[in-house]
Amino acid sequence: MRNLIFLFLLISSFYVSAQKDTTIQLTFVAVYNIPQKSTQPIHLQDFAFYSNDKDSIEIRTLKFYISGIELYNKGASVWKEANSYHLIDASDEKTLSIPLSFPTPLDYTILSFNLGIDSATNTIGVQGGDLDPMRGMYWTWQSGYINFKLEGSSPLCNTRHHAFEFHIGGYHHPYNSLQRISLNVSKDFNTVAYIEIGKLLSVINLTKTNQIMTPGKEAVWIAEQVKSCFYSQADIK
């Protein structure tokens, strides 16, 4: 009899652990401009190149950290991703989609995340995976992660090769450039997060501002502009 009870418990425990989670994909798509309908993502395999009557821009590098992914319902957090650190690299398609698995059923209307790496993680010591310094997103001469990196060229820049380089970081008050971004999403659907690079570049005077490589007021300002360039499908409609 005891053996039967044990067997029953064993089998039922397998059943409980096999209960289905919901998995959605959070995909990042960098676009130049979000027109009303379709969107042309920035492909960095060949230099992404855009032109309008005002400027012609080449984008060479677009990399940024997404961390602390959370789902919210009616203002309350209902799920947090464990070990939530992801390096999104526009030149590496594999990094553009993040699978998120959470228990079913779950009501949520907002998907929220950090653009960048929080202060605690910046000072805890070397980490691996996407946080490994060999991923090229950690300042070597001064401690700290680069939250957002955008490099390219524009004839408006009077720099060598007309290059602009924005390495946006800083985790220490008063130059903490970390931004929290919230997107309206549809429950249980894959989410696309658009980053409208053209909007960012339109608010920067590239003739004056084309090199930001340290923490500071300018880096914080750029980070705030980048935050306003994130949209979900629901936000666009």
Binding site: T123, G125, P133, Y175
Partner: protein, 339 residues
Amino acid sequence: MKKLMVLLLVISIATSAYKVTDTIHFIVPKGWPQPEYDFTQNPLTTNKISLGTALFYDPIISRDSTIACATCHSNKTAFAQTDQSFSRGIDNKLGTRNAPALMNLAWNTSFMWDGAVKHLDMQALAPMSNPDEMDESIKHVVSKLQQSKRYPMLFFKAFGDSIITGEHTLKAMSQFMLTLVSYNAKYDSVLRREALFTQQENNGYRLFRANCASCHREPLFTNNQFENNGLPVDTSLHDNGRMRITQDSANYLQFKVPTLRNIQVSYPYMHDGRFVRLQQVLNHYTNGIVRSKTLSKQLQQRIVLSNCEKEEIIAFLATLTDKNYLNNLQFAYPKNILH
């Protein structure tokens, strides 16, 4: 069934015992504060320390494999470089700051003269990527190590993984640097009541405590703070110290208070190596201080010392030389690995 259980028990004890002998407990000298470094993130093991020792002495870390950490940080002189104010890096390029002595790093709250680096694990990245020092990226270092004959096996022994990463490379280097603990100078023996100061050294100790110890606090002989100690600005360098990192004018001309342990052997002194002899240092503190808005609070009052008193302080500072540390073969070139 019983026999199988016993066998499993013996095997599990045996394997766990093996693990235990590989780990190393970091010893905090008696009376010292707890270290700042979080060992739970990177527990010491003999294999990781060996690997870190090899990496410290191996010039493969530099772009053209000519410069190792040990090139500027020499174990015989407390890991300082004594024959030059600024070290020569790759392509014979000259740096702009003096290579500091290395010891007791587990207690540091920041690294570099201006505190640019906040964690020991990340410190090696700075000289590694500096174009005047090693001019190399961690990504490329990892790829060179992966392609080498010896390192994949060393990384496997240390981390259980022969695929080399930046994380493991830096953690191994940290482990070697964490073992560099200097706590056996004559001063330490005196405090443990195993030896006595001479009359001169004792006088020097009293003077030291009255005039110097507020910044050079025992037992580490640094308070880990940034101070402006009144050095006149070198107009060929215009090095404004910590302000370069914080962009805060309150940090103008502030540099990290270095330890005075092994100070006798780790000249030249100050962030730019401008003083070669301790006599010059003391003369600066009594006669050379330049007052400015950011001058250290500890130096607002004039320091008055006779020549005899200066000799006594210097005699005391000599008791901070730790011969065990300077001659420790565990910190020396690892012939068994880098043959």
